[in-house]
Amino acid sequence: MNKATFSAFIAGLIFSFGLLLSGMANPEKVLGFLDLFGAWDPSLMLVMGGAIAVGLPAFALAKKRQAAVLGGPIQLPGKRALDKRLILGSLAFGIGWGLAGFCPGPGIVASGALEPGALVFAVAMIAGMLGFRLLERRAS
């Protein structure tokens, strides 16, 4: 295993600990945030706030750097268009998120905890992603 691969593993591990510690690997807690008109749990706002507080200076630094510490270019997204794919895709994602309380990260972390419901969600999510690939291939 090279350095970059090990580094990505560590990043995934820290991310996983962050989701577990914040309670965001628990769909019931996420749904407590999304239930704006019921008994509302604002915790997710602080999770986002904390993450962005670290992310802001890190991405500002990344924009200035020519290369990553372990070599290779820093690859930041270049797309700027606010198109139909972005909005409709995000809407579909939001509906799925509201149905089960899982977004991709927590779905994978809870699968790592071998929660049967999370594994069912993760398999369906992967099927959805493969479905997207199939539709894209047909379109091109």
Partner: protein
């Protein structure tokens, strides 16, 4: 609006958020990659040469988190109330939706907002709206 003070956990939420930010900062500065989980998983499914290694390692880190955590501490609660059919529908929508939108809560929500990207702000507002609206319909209109 009615805040559920018993459920609100500001300390652990903020600390966990800082860790998520640290992981995202680590991946962009060390590896030069955005920690967007739907993009990484989708890329892995595309089996892109040159990306397989780091993408697989990142997902493995996510999966290994609970096991390593459990060696030192009891795992926090993971409560899944949705039925299997609902989880399947949710998974399909999340899988297709995040790929069309090219990002999810991590890629658009955390990394995109940290980059001050207008596209990511639009995506985040849209999936938040979708989530709020869905829970409103399910819990308050259908009473499930």
């Amino acid at each position: 609006m009615n805040i559920d003070w018993n459920a609100f956990t500001p300390g652990s939420a903020l600390a966990g958020g800082l860790l998520i930010g640290l992981a995202s900062a680590w991946l962009i500065l060390m590896n030069g990659r955005v920690a967007g989980i739907s993009g990484i998983l989708g890329g892995l499914l595309n089996n892109e040469r040159g990306n397989r290694g780091w993408q697989f390692a990142f997902i493995l880190g996510l999966l290994a988190g609970p096991g390593i955590w459990a060696l030192f501490h009891a795992l926090p609660a993971i409560e899944i109330r949705a039925s299997y059919p609902v989880l399947i529908a949710a998974g399909l929508l999340v899988g297709i939706g995040t790929r069309y939108a090219a990002g999810c809560t991590s890629g658009h929500g955390v990394c995109g907002l940290s980059r001050l990207s207008p596209r990511s702000l639009a995506a985040t507002m849209t999936f938040m709206f979708g989530g709020f609206a869905t829970v409103y319909v399910v819990r308050h209109l259908l009473g499930a």
